[in-house]
């Protein structure tokens, strides 16, 4: 009936990339088969007291081997549990969920902030155009080299320890980067800044949003964001991040 079912995945590899940041390769052909950049999966905890699946975006897809890679940050007990996963362990997951990015444009700015960086890797891989990557970190740097394979990488850090001191927009302005399409994922204040920047410069922008979710399939209405137009589901101005998103065009959403 559907391609998104809850099934078991097998851990191929789980490595620590930086403080609290883990890279998890899973054998999950039922997801790898149809996944697109910008989609996410629901990851279930083994501890039954933690009911809700954790929505985690897909970092890389290897269709041939039936594998997906998730890079996540430990922010609570659930993600802490995932950080202990070892080779050959199994865990339940469901996906792929959400809409993903539309691949378009001739000259792209790929902008990631913090744990919003990982889902942009598969996008960078799949995009067939000129690519510039801007990565914003608080302190610890990760995945920089992986992005270098697909385009020139510019870094910003809040403490100024590497690249431009400040945020991703400071780096974009400093390097005077231009583009006809922006792809961005990161914290809400960053996305709001990018939305304003994109509108000001007349650049089309796709933003990947996040919110606390329960079902992940559009039923619970927990993860809504305000939209400019009336939504199809409730006919108010609330789009569901899990189902109508997580990727939206900048002008679609109020941040």
């Amino acid at each position: 009936m559907t391609s998104t079912v809850r099934k078991k995945g097998i851990v191929i590899q789980n490595t620590k990339l930086a403080k609290d940041i883990y890279s998890l390769w899973l054998e999950a052909p039922f997801i790898a088969d149809s996944a697109r950049p910008g989609q996410f999966v629901s990851l279930y905890c083994k501890d039954g007291s933690r009911l809700l699946p954790r929505p985690i975006s897909i970092c890389e897809i290897n269709k041939e081997k039936g594998r997906i890679r998730l890079v996540f940050r430990v922010v609570g007990k659930g993600t802490e549990e995932f950080s202990y996963l070892q080779e050959k362990d199994t865990l339940d997951l469901m996906g792929p969920l959400g809409n993903g990015f539309n691949l378009e444009g001739k000259k792209a700015l790929i902008i990631g902030g913090g744990i919003g960086i990982p889902p942009l890797l598969e996008l960078a891989k799949k995009l067939n155009c000129e690519k510039q990557v801007v990565l914003g970190f608080r302190d610890d740097i990760y995945m920089e080299e992986e992005f270098e394979a697909f385009g020139k990488v510019y870094i910003s850090t809040e403490d100024g320890s590497k690249g431009v001191k400040g945020n991703v927009l400071d780096a974009i302005r400093y390097h005077q980067l231009e583009a006809d399409i922006i792809y961005a994922c990161g914290p809400k204040p960053m996305l709001k800044g990018i939305k304003d920047y994109a509108i000001e410069h007349g650049i089309k922008a796709q933003l990947s949003l996040e919110e606390r979710m329960a079902c992940g399939v559009g039923a619970c209405l927990g993860c809504v964001c305000q939209s400019r137009e009336t939504d199809m589901h409730t006919h108010v101005k609330n789009k569901r991040i899990c189902k109508d998103g997580p990727v939206f065009y900048a002008e679609e959403v109020e941040l």
Binding site: G48, S49, L51, A219, C220, G222, H233, H235, V236, K243
Partner: protein, 302 residues
């Protein structure tokens, strides 16, 4: 083996339905579940006009449960009639429409609008704040429970289920009030009001501060309340509150519920309803139970 049950003249092929608000209008889960296998689909609450709901975050996980403060976001009865009823009618299942409102007139407006629609039953969510009585929920005052029940009953063309709030001192008193108002059936429990604090940000986990607690954590309370209500009134009961497995469902049935609803479990496992149904049938075969009625309210007093 008979799994069919009858409530207020409506026959359900089996006792499994969905808890309002956890299954959308059925459409959201129709990719996962053959809706024709369910006894009924109970829809998300429908108001007279679209409700945008609360700000986010609307969801917070708690130990063995979750808090939600969706704020009853819904498209209103007109969209529901045009889009959701025809969708659900494609399936061989009964339709129970959950109704929400802020005043008795709100509820009555929806009831009137649905009078000539092809739906099987109405379920009235009386946990909504009553704007005319200073925001106290209808379901927390037995006088109001009886009043709203009788006013809806006068107008409703379909049988009426009153959905009771557990946030009361004496659930049996509320059940008796609904019975006095003419209710055809009762469903319980709705969510328990709770709160979670984000200690790192020193603020509430939910934008609404408080939310409704659901999930396995509330099941023992729900079973106790179903039992108390089953002993207090003669009305059929739809039991719910943390049902995740067939074993959970059977507890409610033995406590006195004629039907059961799977709620939060849908969010965790989209096929939970079917697994609960299969598990009930499996239990009946194993225990040599030929008719589900042998189990309804069958607990023995020690």
């Amino acid at each position: 083996m008979n799994t069919s049950v009858n409530i207020a003249g409506i026959t359900f092929q089996n006792p499994v339905t969905t808890a309002s608000g956890t299954f959308g209008s059925g459409m959201e889960y129709s990719d996962y579940v053959d809706l024709s296998r369910l006894g009924a689909v109970t829809t998300k609450g429908v108001a007279s006009v679209p409700w945008p709901g609360n700000p986010t975050p609307r969801i917070a996980e708690t130990h063995g449960g979750m808090l939600n403060a969706i704020g009853l976001q819904n498209p209103g009865v007109e969209v529901f009639i045009k889009r959701d009823i025809p969708f659900l009618r494609q399936f061989d299942t009964k339709i129970i429409v959950n109704i929400v409102g802020r005043t008795i007139e709100d509820y009555c407006e929806v009831v009137d609008r649905l009078a000539d629609c092809d739906v099987d039953m109405l379920e009235i969510n009386i946990s909504c704040p009553n704007v005319k009585e200073g925001g106290i929920a209808f379901g927390q005052d037995p006088r109001l429970v009886e009043e709203i029940t009788s006013k809806i009953k006068v107008r409703a063309k379909q049988p009426v289920i009153m959905k009771l709030s557990p946030n009361v001192a004496d659930i049996a008193e509320m059940a008796r009030a609904a019975q006095a108002g003419g209710a055809d059936a009762l469903s319980l429990i709705n969510t328990l009001t709770g709160m979670k604090i984000d200690i790192n940000r020193r603020t509430f986990a939910l934008a609404n501060k408080t939310g409704g607690l659901s999930g396995p954590a509330i099941k023992p309370i729900a079973v106790r309340m179903v039992y108390q209500v089953a002993n207090a009134v003669d009305l059929p009961i739809i039991g719910m509150g943390g049902i995740t497995t067939a074993e959970d469902a059977l507890e409610f049935i033995m406590a006195g519920a004629t039907m059961i609803a799977v709620g939060t479990a849908n969010f965790i496992n989209p096929t939970a309803t079917i697994e609960v149904l299969e598990g009930i049938k499996h239990f009946m075969i194993q225990q040599g139970v030929h008719d589900i009625h042998e189990l309804i309210g069958c607990i023995k007093e020690k």
